[in-house]
Symmetry: none
């Protein structure tokens, strides 16, 4: 089902929906007991909740598809992840809350080190500090000159990462990257993938030539590598589509950025899972929909650290009673995708989900885990259809047809 | 899968398919034992049947979508319920077997009471009797004059309900309702939603002015309220699509109407579930496909009457041996949607289904109930794909591809 079909059925009420998202939640059996991270974790609170929930498995994008964080989150919020593509540059811009305009072209920047022959020897410029990054951005912002028609903006992110925005008429993102994505190669000349992008390619190649000269005196960060060209794009907000005023409680710029692109308010970082739950409580009266993003499940999965990922899940479990005290009309606990420690990377495996609501039809699942959820009443469904289910259980979808 | 894909594979044979549809069958746990209506009902005959059937859960329209009876039944018969929309006026016309033409515009009528200021004080005119309704329809039929180019037809339904058909060239149903759907308001002026509908809006507003004058002497039914404008639309029949000669055994005009729109013959009402089963037996030699519609499961669900809904299911169960004696090649038992007594309304929850046929691959489900069906071999599928399964099990679909 096209997830936008539900939009025409939306009605408003005063119910509250909470999405508690453990990034990379899904796992694989590991270690001596043959259990996944979630199966092995002691989760007494989630298990009690499971008994009165309906469970299942979600496919973020499709069978066998390993999603990046962008498509996985779009899917969670009911946006077709294949049609709703978003370039890395735009995610970066939204992540640092860059004041966008419709004439903007964004790109993700790596400060990098090249040798005397112009060969990339370190794609991350020795992971220089954010302070030096900031100084370099100011320098380029001051000295780059692309002519009267093109505004240039450069903003630092953490370590060696930065954002560039170009603002002009008729810019295109149909461009190849300058980042060779490997050392031992020269930065690539940016090419237009169609004739209408030639002007943009020319501007960016001029920018790269100027940057190389301006940074030639730097010890480490003597070049910039560009990738993820993305024009400004406007997305329908959660409010426009579902009538939901929404708050994102997320610690990392990328997830804050996705939330901003979808019109959510964004809570300032709190520094801990406990802080995030406290923010939920403090803001509970002010919004209809809450997206709580728990990052460390994914980070520990990416590290290949089974035990630590399991511990993060147990920490989240310990906060479930606090969430339940708020008595949300619909509480969804799931992930955006799987990040099995056994693979130390995102994967295509479906993600366990539980949905608790007064109107749910409980199944026979007694414990929140991948293999238990196979027997759940939600069964295995596309993740992009989760939001429709949540809205239905919140009484926010009217009947279709006579 | 697009449900029309199967049409090109259809072959004919002499097999018989019976769809036993308990309207609103799906439920929610209620009462002291935490079981749904179907789970709590004593259904020894269905349970024995389940052991040699394949079971599952059907989504009438999509995840989270609560369907009206129209889309739910289209889905049951293999018509995409989102693309196959049908307005209330057309369902009403089909329900009373109005002799339609391609130039017709139909609308659902409520006889209503307005006060001296023209404000609606009763949208159902005190639920006047059908006899008075009939007299008012004759009066309006005689006195309404919309000019030489527009034919006017008015037919009574039960109590305060009626149908109006206008017959003329280039009528449009892209119109807003006159029924304000609430008391304390004046009837609304009908507006064209696009310029090509202006002529139709003008005709209908003239009709409303005339009706107000003609009915001004009536004590209760002194106004008509119009909604559900729908032009005539032709649907492919079950015979055209599947080669099935079909009989609908249904007690209520709406379901008879849907069946007529899909080219089924319609059995006269019998007044009881037992009567419907008797009609099945009497007509069994004459058709390939039988749609038996059991209304009271839905009615008792809508009443919020858990115990009575359960009793209706038990009554249906008692007739299963009679159906099995006919030895149908394919017997499907399901509902068109869920109507949990706990919600006293239609809902979005998937509907349990069993399919019994010599060719089915039985699963391990031992009892016909919502939670048991989660484990069924059909799993959870879109309802619109059920008909394809039924045809396959009846040996009526040929192989696809070399």
């Amino acid at each position: 089902m096209n997830p936008e079909f539900i939009d025409s059925l939306v009605t408003k009420n005063t119910t509250k929906i909470v999405f508690l998202i453990m990034d990379g939640l899904g796992g694989l059996p590991s270690g001596k007991n043959g259990l996944t991270e979630l199966e092995a974790a002691r989760t007494p609170n989630l298990d009690v909740l499971t008994e009165r929930s309906v469970c299942g498995l979600l496919d973020p994008v499709g069978y066998g598809i390993t999603p990046g964080s962008g498509p996985a989150h779009f899917s969670l919020f009911g946006y077709d992840p294949i049609r709703t593509t978003v370039g890395r540059g735009l995610l970066s811009a939204a992540g640092i809350n860059f004041p966008m305009s419709e004439r903007d072209l964004f790109m993700r920047v790596n400060l990098a080190t090249i040798d005397a022959n112009g060969i990339v020897v370190d794609r991350r410029a020795g992971r220089i500090g954010t302070d030096l990054n900031r100084k370099i951005c100011v320098k380029l912002q001051t000295e780059i000159d692309l002519g009267a028609d093109v505004e240039f903006f450069m903003e630092p992110e953490k370590e060696h990462r930065a954002l560039i925005a170009l603002r002009s008429d008729s810019l295109s993102d149909n461009l190849t990257d300058s980042d060779p994505e490997a050392t031992g190669k020269k930065p690539l000349v940016v090419k237009a993938s169609d004739p209408s992008a030639q002007k943009s390619a020319d501007i960016i190649n001029t920018l790269l030539e100027q940057a190389k000269i301006i940074l030639s005196g730097e010890e480490k960060a003597n070049m910039i590598l560009l990738r993820g060209f993305a024009r400004y794009r406007k997305f329908k907000s959660l409010y426009t589509r579902y009538g939901l005023s929404s708050l994102a409680i997320a610690e990392y710029p990328m997830y804050q950025g996705i939330a901003r692109l979808l019109g959510m308010d964004v809570n300032p970082p709190t520094g801990s899972i406990e802080g995030e739950i406290t923010s939920l409580k403090e803001n509970y009266s002010k919004y209809d929909f809450f997206f709580i993003h728990i990052k460390p499940t994914d980070s520990r999965g990416e590290d290949g650290d089974y035990e630590s990922k399991l511990k993060v899940i147990e920490e989240v479990d310990s906060h479930i009673p606090s969430v339940l005290k708020l008595n949300p009309d619909v509480l969804v606990v799931t992930g955006d995708h799987s990040t099995p420690a056994a693979l130390a990377s995102h994967s295509w495996h479906p993600v366990p989900v539980l949905l608790a609501a007064r109107t749910c039809r409980p199944d026979r699942v007694k414990r929140f885990g991948e293999r238990d959820c196979i027997m759940g009443g939600i069964s295995r469904i596309p993740m992009m259809n989760l939001m429709g289910l949540a809205l239905a259980h919140a009484g926010r979808l009217s009947k279709f047809g006579a």
